[in-house]
Structure formats: C-alpha cells, structure tokens
Amino acid sequence: MQTKRTIFPNKLLPYLLLTPQLAVTLIFFIWPAAQAVKSSFEREDPFGFRTTFIWFENYTRLFSEATYLNSVGKTALFAISVTLLSMSLSLLLAVAVNRVLRTNRLYTTLLVWPYAVAPVVVGILWWFMFNPSIGIAPYLMRGLGIDWNHRIDGTDAMLLVIMAASWKQISYNFLFFVAGLQSVPQSLTEAAAIDGAGPFKRFWTIVFPLLSPTTFFLLIVNINYAMFDTFGIIDATTSGGPAQATNILVYKVYADGFLGLNIGSSAAQSVVLMLIVIALTAVQFRFVERRVQY
C-alpha cells in the first residue's frame, strides 16, 4: 500500500520536536534508573561520604536472605490472589450489569467510584473497618466466634490487604469488561440461544472466549497493579507487618531504602523489580497485540 509521504527537508527539525519528550524520558526515567543500577553495585553510608564498589554483593546477599525470599513468596501470593479476586468479581458484576437494561448506566457509575479513591485512602478505610480495637468488622466477627487480629496474625493481615487491593481494582476491571461485553455481537448469542444453548453455556462457549483479549490485557495490568501500585494500601493498612507477613517487594524497597537507609540493598531490589516490569511489558506487547485475537 502506497501512503502519501511528506518530505521534510530539514534534518534537525524532527529531533528538535522530539527533544521535550526525550528530555522528560531521560530525566525522569533513564537517569534515575541508571542511578539505581549504579547504587546497586555499591555500599554506601546514608550521607554518601563513603562509597565502596562491591560488585554483586548486594544481589547475592539479597537472594540468600530469608526475608527477601519470604517477600518474593508473599508478593506472588498477593499478586495472584488480587488478580483472581478482582477480575472474577468484576467479570461477574460486568455480566450482571450487561443484562440490566434500564439502570445499567447508574450501576456503572456507582461501580466506578472506588477507582477515584486514592490508594492511601483505601488503605485507611479498610484499616479503620478492620482495626482490631475500634473496627466494625472484627466486632461483628467476634460475635460469630472469629478472632480477627491482623496486628498479630499474618494470615488475617494478608487477607486484609488482598481485600483492600482487590476492592480498589474492581472498578477498573469492570469498565473494561463492560466495554468488552458490549462488543460481543448480539447475533452470535442469539443464534446460540435459538440452537438451545442456556445462559451458562452461551457465556462459557461464546462470550468468554470472545472476551479473551480484554481478559488477557487485564491479567497483565492487574499483576502489574498488585505488584507495584499497592504501595499506598500496604503502607496505610499493615506497613508490611506483622512479622513481614505482607511485606511485598515494592514495599520492601521503600522500607529498606527510606526507613532503613540501606541504599545499596534497596537499589538492588528495585533493579530486580525493574527486570520484572520489563518482562511483564514484553509479554504484554508480544501476546496482547498478536496472539489473543479472534
């Protein structure tokens, strides 16, 4: 296909026009990332007076540390749970809203609200509801004979952050699912209905496969969200505790670097995280764009 091409004689102009974007990328992304890589090979006192180049010591220590491996495990558990929980709930809600004809705008609007709430505020809300001494939820649960105390019990704490983080993400997933559902051609489901397929059969054999691009996209986005955007929620609800039960990787970077002032280890951890993001992004570009098409 021959497209119409405009020739710019000026060789410099394109670069000049690109400069602002390149500058922003360099200053805010490339340069800090390079700094992190550099720091990850160094041992330094907090004030930066004495810097020793120590090759891979930060990394080798990291992977021999029980606390770091624990954090990797917790992150996996957390990310998978949040992704599954928030995606399945939002799919359920989206399908339900899609069936409601008259008030679906209203439901859509209401369901999108949580997305507008800042992560820290979400954290505070859930912290408040589940606070072992003043919260309403532990009070009700005590009536049912459940002793909720996420201050001490690591499982309770993990459940709490999973619930809080999933709740926040449901709106986002919901919007995409609703949009995805609306693009499923009515004619296909109608044809299936005429052939005698019930609602469940229609959903699993027609709608769900046709939703797969949306689902796959959301899968990647949700894993990313759970791993990197939940910092505020963790900080406000459990601060990584008790006994590191909810200390996910991104929180550990902060805790070790900003609270513990161990810059070398923190930098090494952030480089590891950077590699994970790069991997996830690569997966997304490779597969979302190509394979999952119908």
């Binding site: 041992r43 006192d45 930066g48 001494s133 609270l259």
Partner: protein, 471 residues
C-alpha cells in the same frame, strides 16, 4: 527520587548563600541537577521579597498537631526577640521521614541548618562526622555560653561522644512512664492511688480488673522495642549490647537475649494469651492509645510526651501516672529509665552568619523559661536543671500531680553502663526487626527465647552492615 528531593526542598536555600553567590561544594552531584535546583530555587527567591536583611535559618522538624504549634511559637518568640535572624521551621513528617528528607537534602546540598533527629537516629548522625557540626563546637565558635553540666545528666550522657562532648542540642527528651485509669481501678476494687510497682503486682491487678469486669484488658504499651526491651534492660541493669551498649564503638553486638528479657517476653506472651495484655502494633504502637482512651485497657505504658494526648483524650475518667514496673526478684533497686525523643542537629555546609544565628537560637531555646514552657505543655522532660528548678519554683509539679514522674524516674540512682542509654547505627532497622520477632512470638510461631535470639542475630547483621559502611 533525587529530583523530587531537590524540587521539594528548593525553598530552603539560605538567602545568605544565594546572596554571596556561593554554590555549595560539589559532592559528585551531577551539574545538571544542580542547575535545575538552582534555577528553581532562584525563581522562587526572585519572586519573593528582593531585599531581606535577615538571615534565614531553616529548621526541619517532626512535631505535628499541638506540639508543632508550640514549636512554631518558640521559633516566633526567638524571631521577635531580635531582628538579625529569622528561624523558619518546616514540618517534614514523622521522625524517620524527617531524617530521610534531611539526608537526601544533604546529598543534594540543600540541607537545612537545623534538623530534629530522634534518639534512634543518633548513632547514624554521630557516624556521619562530615555532615554534622557538633553543637559544643558551634557554641564555642560563636561565643555563646555553653555549660554541659546544666543539662540533665541522662540527657548529657545519651548525646555525648566518647570524649564527653555533646554533639547535638537536647530539645525534646522523653522517657516511658505508666498511665493508668483510676476509675477502672476503683471499679475493680483496687486503690486508685496505689498503682502497681512491680510486674507481679501489675499482673495481679490486671487479672483482678479483668475478672471483676471493670475493663476487658489489663494493659497495653506503645513502642515495644523501646519500652519493653531497651528500657526494661536499663531498669534491670542488664546489658543491651557489648561495648557499653554501643557507646564504645561500631564493633558492638547485641546481647538483649538475656534471661531477664527472655522471661519478660515469655510473660508478655502468656499475658497476651490470657488477654491481660493487648498488643498495640509495631513501631510506636498506633493502636495502643485508643485502647487506653476508650477504657478498654486499664494501664498504658508510653512516652512521657504522650501526657498531653492522654489528658486531652481521657475525658470521662481520671488518669494516674506512675513509674514503669520492675521485677522485684531481679532487682530491688530499679535503675533509671532511658531517653527517647529527639535532639537538634546542626548540618555542615552553611554560612558562618547562619551558624551565628543558630548558636543564638540555641541559647534562647535552652533558657529556663522556654524550656520549662515546652516541658510543661508537652510532657517532654525539662532538659536543663534550670528549667526543672523553675517549674518547682512555679509550683507546677504540685499543681499537676504526676507531671514529675518521668523526671524522677530518669534521674533516680546513679546511671550504670547498662542504663546510660543505647547507641547503635541503623537502630531504626533493628527496632523493626524487634517488632517483627515480637509479632512472631505473639502469633505463637516462636518462643520468647527463639524470638529474641533471632532478633539478636538479625540485629547483629545490621550492625555489621553499618560498621562496614562507616569504616
């Protein structure tokens, strides 16, 4: 991060520096960033009043709410007392946040003249010799009166280097005490004027309180690491670390897994299981105060500086104040408790003119009137003997019973090597480790001995890291 550090702090360029056209020495910061900061800083300064004769002294602090207002009052008091200098206090968040902000600012040559650092950061600051201007030196250079013996002995001890020089200006020092609910005591059939002296009494009274239904919980505590380990060790004259609890050098190792500490943690676990003790959360223990304010827990151990908050919040019951309990089978002569709170550190890299102002401000700050006012308002200790005496002359302690519990507790007896305080690098991290191990104990994953052994082992690793990074 660095960019934000820079932009966030551009307003704190001292006018003096800019006026002299002096750019702070390059510490390996990229020229680009410096230019960015400088231009941002200049833009702000040019937009402000062009001709300011006063030298500004930036002061970063971590005092919020009522304490923050009182602190600003002090700064205003100084600003009105003379016209040459202007102290500009800036609230930078919690203690760890303030310390981190100051360190980041220092690395970018944007540091404030004065920064408030909590006692946990003392080891870190002392090791950073190039970053700090010792206060004794500052006062000497600027011809301000300086008498270390005027400060309370435990304060001097905690903040002096090995040669006995005070490195940072004592400002808000506290020590943990015990608060108790007199109404609940009465309801449980206990004498509200006789608080528990020993842990055995505390256990017995807590049980009585619970069994009588006067309150659902006996006691809670803020700052487990500080109150139930550091202070516990000091009061019972038990070592916390080798080399005089870290005062003797960076090669120190933790030894807080001794018999007394283990027994105490065993007890806390036992009492937690019985419901006599409720855990208030890690670090400062954010859940502890509401448990006490709401009448859920009858006894509450926390900093003496919680006094203002306790009095404000304990609206429907009467509060009693008492020293921390001790084990009478370990000692019959409990030692002094140790310091918490913060001091003011002066950072390097400023104009001589600025330091002159800082020195004058410190003289103002340690005057008996200012110190006594701060102490009486907040519940922090009067850091100078003169401020304490002034309070006595004013009759403050008689009018406010219990307000001298903290100072009496911290000055009782002669401090030993074990009760002088603790000094370790990276202590913030160690305290986190202690909280985590305490939580593992409460969750039943570890015994007291296992938890403390693990805390010592992990803590020692952190100390070795600090030693490696600072030598």
């Amino acid at each position: 991060m660095n960019i934000f550090g820079c932009i966030g702090s551009y307003g704190c360029y001292d006018l003096g520096e800019i006026r002299d056209g002096e750019v702070p020495a390059n510490k390996g910061v990229s020229m680009f960033k410096k230019a960015l900061c400088l231009s941002a800083g200049l833009a702000v300064i040019m937009a402000a009043t062009p001709a300011l004769a006063q030298t500004e002294i930036s002061w970063w602090h971590a005092m919020d709410a009522e304490l923050g207002k009182k602190l600003e009052e002090i700064a205003n008091g100084f600003n009105e007392s003379q016209s040459e200098f202007k102290v500009v206090p800036t609230y930078k968040g919690s203690y760890p946040e303030t310390l981190t902000a100051a360190i980041a600012a220092f690395r970018a040559n944007e540091q404030p003249a004065i920064v408030q650092v909590f006692e946990v950061g003392t080891g870190t600051m002392m090791a950073a010799k190039g970053a700090v201007k010792p206060v004794y030196q500052l006062m000497e250079e600027n011809g301000e009166p300086w008498d270390p013996s005027g400060f309370l002995a435990p304060v001097t001890g905690y903040y002096s280097d090995t040669d006995g020089n005070i490195l940072s200006m004592p400002f808000n020092s506290s020590t943990p005490i015990m608060y108790y609910n007199k109404d609940v005591f009465e309801k449980a059939g206990l004498d509200p004027e006789t608080p528990p002296k020993t842990w055995a009494e505390l256990e017995e009274m807590s049980r009585k309180i619970m069994e009588s239904g006067a309150a659902p919980c006996g006691f809670t505590t803020g700052w487990v690491s500080w109150v139930q380990l550091e202070n516990l060790s000091a009061i019972h004259d038990q070592p916390y670390g080798t080399l005089e609890n870290g005062f003797g050098g960076l090669g120190t190792e933790f030894v807080f897994n001794g018999d007394v500490q283990t027994k105490h943690w065993e007890n806390l676990k036992k009492w937690a299981d019985e419901g006599l003790f409720e855990y208030g959360g890690p670090v400062g223990g954010a859940d502890a105060p509401p448990k006490f304010y709401s009448g859920e827990c009858a006894i509450y151990m926390n900093s003496s500086a919680s006094r203002a908050g306790v009095i404000n919040n304990a609206k429907d019951f009467e509060v009693g104040f008492a020293p921390l309990p001790y084990y009478d089978d370990v000692t019959t002569d409990p030692k002094n408790s140790i310091i918490g709170g913060a001091t003011l550190w002066v950072l390097n890299g400023k104009d001589p003119e600025v330091y002159k102002g800082v020195a004058q401000f410190f003289t103002y700050l340690s005057s008996p009137e200012v110190q006594a006012g701060w102490h009486q308002f907040t519940g922090y200790l009067p850091v100078t003997n003169a401020a304490y005496e002034l309070g006595q002359e004013q009759g403050y302690y008689e009018e406010n019973p219990g307000s001298d519990v903290a100072i009496k507790q911290i000055t009782r007896g002669t401090p030993t090597a074990n009760s002088k305080g603790v000094r370790f690098g990276n202590l913030t991290q160690v305290r986190t480790v202690i909280d985590e191990e305490f939580e593992a104990l409460l969750a039943g994953n570890k015994t007291a001995k296992e938890a403390l052994d693990a805390a010592v082992e992990r803590g020692n690793q952190i100390l070795r890291d600090f030693e490696a990074a600072n030598s």
